[in-house]
């Protein structure tokens, strides 16, 4: 063993990472080479300095902030994921009065009270008269019509919010939709956001809101198609996760496209590879 070879192995020699044979060869060289022996001494001084380094410690506030954040995340998180459960959302967003969730929920609550009040009035009117059966049928029809109007108005408010130029407002509208039972038209609205909204956080939120409808083939197909066009890694990851949870073999082609694209973000490719194993 010559000096160049020995020098290259000194660090491993010191940390005992060499094979027994190499350890012996380095030791033999050091015994007869003063220059390399001195090199080893310098190496040891540096190793000692590294060993004695005072290990940097994060500030105490980091621990406090982390545990507060984790607690909030754990509270917001649904039970371990399955297809029917929408995952957590953590975006910090700015909302205006008309699309604040309290406003929308309040609107729906007021409308529901109106339905209830109408029911009371109608009920007191009908009493036990001979025409009660006919009146009940008529009232039921009125209540159903009113309910439909309320639902329609609620939908109109949400749809209007989805047109807001502010992405935070649109995300908030998506969150409201995520907690409601949506009709096919609303689900199509979400799919439209997934495919075409200009903001990646809105697209990601829309993907999360679609979890409840993942059993519909049209939804899965639309998400898989959007995945091929998507360029934001955070949205790609959400879509991959969504498709992996559905275990729909139809999504395989989209996932394989990502896996084989060398220009894709490594995390995205890794996630797609993992998702393919779950199909």
């Amino acid at each position: 063993m010559n000096c160049d070879e020995t020098i290259l192995l000194l660090a491993d020699y010191e940390s005992g990472r060499l094979s027994a044979a190499d350890m012996r060869r380095v030791r033999e060289h050091l015994d007869r080479c003063p220059a390399c022996a001195q090199e080893l001494q310098l190496q040891r001084q540096l190793d000692l300095a590294i060993k004695r380094e005072r290990r940097p410690e994060p500030g105490a506030h980091v621990h406090t902030a982390f545990h507060a954040w984790l607690e909030a995340e754990a509270r917001a998180m649904p039970a371990p994921r399955h297809v029917a459960a929408a995952p957590e959302r953590t975006n910090i967003i700015r909302v205006s009065f008309w699309n604040h969730p309290a406003t929308i929920s309040g609107f729906v609550a007021v409308a529901a009270c109106a339905v209830f009040a109408l029911g009371l009035v109608v009920g007191s009117r009908t009493g036990s008269s001979s025409g009660a059966q006919f009146a009940n049928q008529q009232n039921a029809a009125e209540i159903a019509a009113l309910r439909e109007q309320v639902a329609s108005m609620s939908q109109a408010v949400t749809w209007q919010t989805l047109q807001q130029p502010n992405a935070g407002d649109r995300i908030q509208a998506v969150r409201v939709m995520a907690s409601a039972d949506l009709n096919p038209v609303d689900v199509n609205q979400l799919l439209g956001l997934v495919a075409f909204d200009s903001n990646s956080q809105v697209r990601e939120s829309a993907v999360q809101a679609l979890y409840r409808y993942a059993d519909r083939p049209t939804v899965r197909t639309a998400v898989a198609r959007a995945l091929v066009r998507e360029s934001a890694p955070v949205v790609q990851l959400a879509m991959i996760d969504f498709l992996a949870n559905t275990r729909d073999p139809e999504a395989t082609a989209a996932l394989e496209t990502l896996v084989h694209n060398q220009n894709q973000n490594p995390l995205v490719r890794e996630a797609a590879t993992y998702a393919l194993t779950r199909m």
Partner: protein, 208 residues
């Protein structure tokens, strides 16, 4: 395996299993991983940037991303390697942000400290070898600093370092050798110890 360990206390569970549990939705398990890794992770960032406040933020960022990308964690491989891959991305984002928002006059703290010979001499008198070491580290190019921090300061196995840096094992060994040589030269230079008998100048050449 995950199910079998659900009744064990978190501190008795290895990193990989804890992370699998986090992936499956057992979010509080991330707290145990934070307890184990926040400090070395902070050391990684501080040694590479010299920015303590920024390193505080980056440690938290790493754990936020771990939770967010938990579904990308695979059953094979090590948690530590995966965590440092995320940490390097957080660091890259931090440096990009700092480059965009910090005036050119304000260089990173580590580089400033590196040339402060007077301060270095004071530190040596006070026996503050850690400060000298960090200043020596700061004189090295970032890629050299990174490999040395991972392998020698964080004491990660070479195989892990190779995976994190996405280079071959032999490239890791060569890079570490050069990095240690550069660090040593910088360390003794800052202490103003003459580079006596540096082997490259004086060593005898022997045949194998």
């Amino acid at each position: 395996m995950v199910e079998a360990l659900t009744s064990a206390p978190p501190e008795a569970i290895d990193d990989h299993t804890l992370m699998l549990r986090v992936r499956e939705g057992d979010i509080p398990m991330l707290g145990e991983l934070f307890q184990r890794h926040a400090r070395p992770l902070y050391g990684f960032f501080v040694r590479l940037t010299g920015d303590r406040a920024g390193s505080d933020d980056m440690v938290q960022q790493v754990f936020h991303r771990i939770l967010r990308y938990r579904h990308t964690y695979r059953d094979v491989g090590s948690f530590t390697g995966w965590m440092y891959i995320i940490a390097r991305r957080v660091l890259a984002d931090f440096q990009r942000h700092r480059a965009q928002h910090q005036p050119p006059a304000e260089e990173p703290a580590l580089e400033q400290l590196a040339d402060e010979r007077t301060h270095a001499a004071d530190a040596a008198e006070a026996g503050d070898q850690t400060a000298l070491l960090h200043r020596a580290l700061a004189t090295l190019p970032e890629d050299v600093r990174e490999v040395i921090v991972l392998a020698r300061f964080q004491e990660l196995p070479y195989e892990e370092v190779a995976r994190i840096l996405d280079i071959s094992l032999s490239a890791v060994k060569t890079r570490i050798h050069r990095a240690m040589k550069d660090l040593r030269a910088a360390y003794f230079r800052i202490q103003e110890i003459p580079p006596m008998g540096l082997p490259t100048a004086t060593r005898e050449k022997e045949s194998a």
